[in-house]
Each structure stands twice: as C-alpha cells, then as structure tokens.
Symmetry: C2
Subunit: 419 residues, 2 copies
C-alpha cells in the first residue's frame, strides 16, 4: 500500500515568514518518510487543489526547501478565495475530496488566517461525513495578529519590527528637518480591523516623548478635534510630530478615514486615497505645517530583510508542529504559540480546536491602549516587545537578499473532469 500523501496550501495575504512555516512542514515531513509519502502544495492555494494543480515538492532540492525559511511571499502562490459553506453548496468540498482521494492525500495542512482556519475545520467535517480519512491541521498566519488563542500570529512580529524600525528611522529624519521644513510625518500601516501593527510602532520609543507621538488605532474612534489638538501640542513642544495610522482608522460612525479620498474625480477617474494623505491634508488645512507621508503597504509584510528572529522561529515551529500533530493522529486542530514567560521571554507550542478558532478576530484590549487613545500602555509594551526580538538576516549576494524561487512542477492530473 502506498504511503499517504499530504497537501499543503498557503492562503490569504502572504507574509515575510509564511514560507518559514512551509519550510517547517516540508522538512518535518521529509524527516518522516516512513509515514508521509509526498507533500503536494496547492498552486495558488486552495485554488490549486480545486483545479488539481498540485506542486510536487519532492522535486525541490534540500537547499531550496531550506531557503524557504528566509524567503518572503508565498512560494507556491496564495489566494483570496473563500469556499462556499458546505451546507449551502458542498460541490467545492466534494471536489477537494475527489482530488485528495485521487492523489492519496490523507493530510491537509492549511496555512492562513481566520477564514482559512474555518475552511480547514469544514474540510475536517465534510471528510468525516464522507468517511474519507483526512487529517486537517490549520497553521496560523496573519500580519494582523488577530487570531484568537495563539499568543501571537506568525508574520506579525516581522511587520512589527519593520514598522518600529521604520518609525524610529523616519523620526530621526523629520527631527533633522523640522526647523525649516517638514514638521509632520504620517506613516500608514496595515490593520483593517485590529491595530496591532500600528501599536507596535510605539516600540520605537526609548524615552517619554519619543516618536511616534500619535498612533491612530481602529479600536479608538477618531476624533478630529482631539487629534488636531495633540498634533499642535506635539509640534509646539518637540518641533515636529510623527503619526502612525492604521489603514483601518475610523470615525465613531464607522466610516474609514481613508474613504474620503476613495471617490471619483470630475473625469470619473478613481481617486484612490489612503489614510496617510487624508490625515496629512487635515493637518495641513488646519495648521499649514509642511508634511510628508508614507504608505508602506506590501513593503511592510514582505520585508524579510528585517524579519524578527522570534517570528521566523515561531513560524517554522508551527509548521513543524502541524506535521507532528498529524502524525500523532490529530485533526481539526491548529498549533498555537503559548507564552510561558514575559521576561525572559519563553514560549511553547500549544493546541487549539479549529471549531473555536474560526472567524474570531482578536482586537487590542482596552488595557493596552493609553488613556488619551493615542498610544499604548506598559502592558501592551510588555506583550509586544519580545515579538520583534532577534535578527535573522538573510544571505546577501551583490548587495541584495537572496530569495529562492522553487521549480513548482505540477504532478500529472488524474481526474477526468476539469474544475
């Protein structure tokens, strides 16, 4: 009887370390050749499974697999694609089981955020109902750090390190220029619903009054007057003001700050705003201060060159644990990070049931947000600080980080039907 194969897919927005999880999965599976045959990766995530586009990872060299640990992006392709609920329409799930069955796939590893964990959970349910033996293990990933149960999410620590570093660096620039030029600098960061990334910029501070002076979180309704007052106070006291804003910052009525610039101009062309320019314009209109703004967008979540070693290690460990969970006979679970000590920082791998994880978002708790709403508390700092600790510099060649590109060879299709 042939050994059972495994399926691994990356899902949703990729990160600087999702490939480190892939590396953990693949290296651990290779170390258990008696139990796991091949690991097939979905080309562009779960879409690859539906379309029977399965990447044969056994064709990749040991060196390239090891190189995944320090390569950002999703090496097999990811996707934004949510399966329909099996109660409404089970065709997608049925198709997946057909594909898995044709390729003797008995392990399903799904590396993603809340939606993906929901999918993995449903996959476990459907396969049980159809009596197809499939062990479904979720692997957490999200720069937004918004999954429940796990102490943190792989991908977040590296974005946090990027944002805190960039804030510290840009603040030095603004401080140099403020006497006769730029007085206000606005950095827009990711975080549509939860403000973890913006909050992490506060780690740039070493002393009271250091930049960032104002952090705008989605969790705190934006009050224009209070904000402008704080800008004025800061410029008066320090000569300049550094603002970090979540893309999800919003007014009390729920309107995103960035939406104001999102309409059409007189020619019917899209006016694509962004929160940073909106905030900058607000300050300019009120005080006339010279300003600059930056939107780091994909740069922040792909910045493997400034990844957090803690984050890389955890991403790898969660991939490894996922395979170990599968080999231990588990299903419908997700390995998580459990913090056992703040200082010195210690963590271990724990376990969460997918049924409980699915579709819950973890926001910044109130106790992490300063009274005025523009900063974070000591408690938040204690939580965040260890997540950016440690450097894991990639190898450089000709002045640039070396990142691997896999062969990504597809296996021959076995099913007669196309999807």
């Amino acid at each position: 009887m042939p050994k059972p194969n495994a399926f691994y897919a990356q899902s949703g927005g990729v990160t600087a370390v999702i490939n480190a999880s892939a590396c953990g999965v693949l290296e651990t599976a290779r170390a258990h050749k008696d139990d796991i045959g091949k690991v097939y990766a979905g080309r562009n995530g779960i879409i690859g499974a539906l379309q029977e586009e399965l990447i044969d990872t056994s064709k990749e060299s040991k060196k390239d697999i090891a190189g995944l640990r320090s390569t950002p992006g999703g090496a097999f392709g990811s996707c934004r694609f949510k399966l329909k609920s099996p109660e409404d329409d089970a065709r997608e799930y049925n198709r997946l089981i057909d594909v898995f069955s044709a390729h003797n796939i008995r392990y399903f590893f799904y590396n993603g955020g809340g939606d993906s964990q929901d999918t993995a959970n449903k996959m476990a349910q459907v396969s049980r109902q159809r009596k197809y033996p499939l062990q479904c293990i979720g692997i957490p990933k999200t720069v937004d750090n918004d999954l429940p149960f796990t102490d943190c999410c792989p991908g977040f620590g590296s974005v946090a390190k990027y944002v805190a570093t960039s804030t510290r660096e840009a603040a030095l620039d603004v401080a140099s220029m403020c006497e006769s030029s730029t007085k206000v600098f606005v950095l827009e960061v990711m975080g549509r619903h939860a403000g973890w990334i913006a909050a992490a910029s506060a780690l740039a501070q070493t002393r009271e009054g250091d930049a960032p002076h104002i952090i705008l979180l989605p969790e705190v309704p934006f009050e224009k007057q209070a904000f402008l007052r704080k800008v004025k106070e800061t410029v008066t006291a320090k000569g300049y003001c550094v603002i970090v804003v979540s893309e999800g910052a919003r007014y009390a009525n729920g309107t995103f700050l960035g939406e104001s610039g999102g309409g059409k101009d007189a020619f019917g062309h899209s006016q694509l705003g962004g929160v940073a320019p909106t905030i900058a314009a607000m300050v300019k209109d009120k005080f006339g201060y010279k300003f600059h703004w930056a939107v780091s967008d994909y740069l922040q979540r792909s910045a493997r060159h400034i990844a957090s070693a803690t984050d890389v290690n955890q991403a790898y460990a969660l991939g490894k644990a996922a395979v170990e969970f599968a080999l231990a006979g588990k299903s419908a679970v997700m390995p998580i990070i459990v913090r056992t000590s703040d200082s010195p920082y210690k963590w271990k791998i724990g376990e969460a049931k997918l049924a409980k994880v699915a579709n819950i978002e973890k926001f910044m708790p109130k106790s992490y947000i300063s009274k005025d709403g523009f900063g974070i508390t000591q408690r938040a700092r204690k939580y965040l600080a260890p997540l950016i600790a440690g450097e894991d510099h990639p190898t450089y060649k000709d002045g640039l980080p070396v990142y691997v590109t896999l062969k990504n060879q597809l296996v021959a299709k076995k099913l007669p039907e196309k999807w």
Copy 2:
C-alpha cells in the same frame, strides 16, 4: 595663539549616511588636535551659524561620535535654507563671517547637495574679499545622485539598496497573490528631477522578465498609451506587473503625474496625491486590475538598517578627506568619488572645484535608459551594481537598531546682536 576652530553643517534633505560623513569629519579633526581646535556644528545647519547656535562637538563622547557612522538622519539638524546671493544682499554672508570670526572658525565644512556647494563656494569668495582666512570645503550628499564630477553621491547607494530590496520583496508578495487578487503593484520613490533611485530598482532583477517590469523615470516623458499597453502585456505574460515610479515622472509638457491629485476638493481641503495612487488609478480605470501601491517617502532615505556598506564607507571617506583637504591648505573644493574599476569595483577620492560643481544636476544619460524607456541598460546596471554592495548592519538592541542621540550642547554666544 589659540588653535583655529572648524565649523561643520548638514544641509538639505538628510540621508542614511550623512552622519557617517559627520563621523569622518569629527574623527579626523580629533586625530589632528594640533591643527584644529574644536569642531562646532551648526544647529539645524547654516541657520545655526546665522543665529550663533553652535554645537560644541567636543562635548560628545568618542563612542557617540563613532555611533554617528551608523545613525540615519542629521544628528545636528539640517535645514532647507538657501542664502541670498552675496551680490544681491551680502548681510547673511557678512553675519556668518562675524560669527566665525568671533569663534575663531577658520574651516568651513558644508555637507549637502548642489545648492549647498554653491553656498560653500560663495562663502569662499566672500571671505576672500573680506580677507577673512576661511577654508571652505564642500562634502557631497544627496540621495538623488545628481551632483556632477563625483561618480556617485553619498546617500544614494543606500536608498538604491533599500529600493531594490523592497522591490524584490514586494514583487514576491504580488506574485503570490496575483491569481485571485492584486495584479498590479506600484512603488513610488524619490527623484524629483533625476531618475537614479527608480532606476536602481532594476537591480532587483536577476533574470529577464523579473520585477520591476516598468520603471517610470523623470528623464522619459510619460506616454499613457504606451504605458498602459506595457502593463497589459506584462499582466498577460506574467500574471502581474510591478511598477516603480519616480516622484518626478512627468508628461512631455512637463506636468508632473502626481500633480493631478494635488488640488482642492469641493470643501477646499487639499487633495494630496502622489504619483503612485495616480498611476494605480490609471491602470484600474483602464483594466480594472486589483492593485496596491506604496509610497516609501522618508522611509527610503532614512533606512540605515539596510544601508549599503559601499555608501557608508564612501560617506565616511569623504568626510575624512574634507578635513585632510583643509589641512593641506585647500579651499573652494569638494572631495569626490572617482571610480577606477567596475569589476572588481574600486574607487578613490578625487577633487572638484566648487565653482564648477555648483548648481549642475546630473541626469540619467540616454545610454542608461532602455529603448522602450521603461527600463535600464546593461551599462546602467554596471554603473549601479557596485553602489549597493555590502551590508553594514547596525547594532540591534531589543529588536531595534541602536542609533545615537547627541548631547548637542551649544557654546556661549559672543556676539551682542541676535539674528
């Protein structure tokens, strides 16, 4: 007779390595204590000299001075302030000579771009006319890489490395997502007049067809149809398209692409565009592709964490050479980088007359720009490649780069008049 003192000032937009030049000046001056008394730094550049706000750098520890080598921004403050021409109004120059005379300053080191070299040159002229013995040495600096004579400008190599690295990283992100999500990514970089920074993004390519697929330079008039055609071709062939655009990209009639978003909205609020969102909107309107855009702004020029070792070494060497020039009795000159070999890359310090340097901008030569205008040639690559070579990682503490903050103690004023 007291030893002559020196004045050093940073001017214009700061960089990741202007403090490395400061470090070169200060360490070299300290090594020549018999010839140079104190080095006073202008607080916020030349404004500090006008206002007699002179920072006594002798109060700074050896360790902090050494730390300048790896600290971005301008440690003494910079300014955007151009002196009036002495022919029109000599009061500013006269005031400077009064301040220098009061503090026995006989060496003037001015660290900046084209305008600043012009100022340093005029300072030399005026002091000669007034028979005040002042040796004026310019130290080149500009991320835009637009000074003549010198092979490259300190600050540029590090921005180039940042932009090439970020482009490579973000491209991996987009490539992962393009099947079902983002297909077009636009990165806006600095370069109001010259496209050197945008051009350097091409170093991210290792093979034909790699990102960036389109580079928009100020030197090449923007043609919307040709651009859109190229976007379409690229998305069709590769599945995605990465575009790097200079902030100075413009139409044939000279209008900046970014200007379109720079007006006022119906409420009279500033609509602060940016080239990246303008370009993204153009693509969206034509093809409906899902897009993302980033504006790296100050992040790129302050990113000391990913500085080029070549750049850091050259910045330091130029600071050192400036002091050595002064001690050799020179004036109205600027040390420059002379390339003596491409491969292996070798350089030495040369010398340019300030009278010739002042106010000349060096653009990308035609031979560096590809035929279709959207990329660079092999010749450009040969020029650019060595400038990003080598890493010079700063020290990290608690997960973040350690940057120094100086004491910046002012010396007592000696002049009765305020400025």
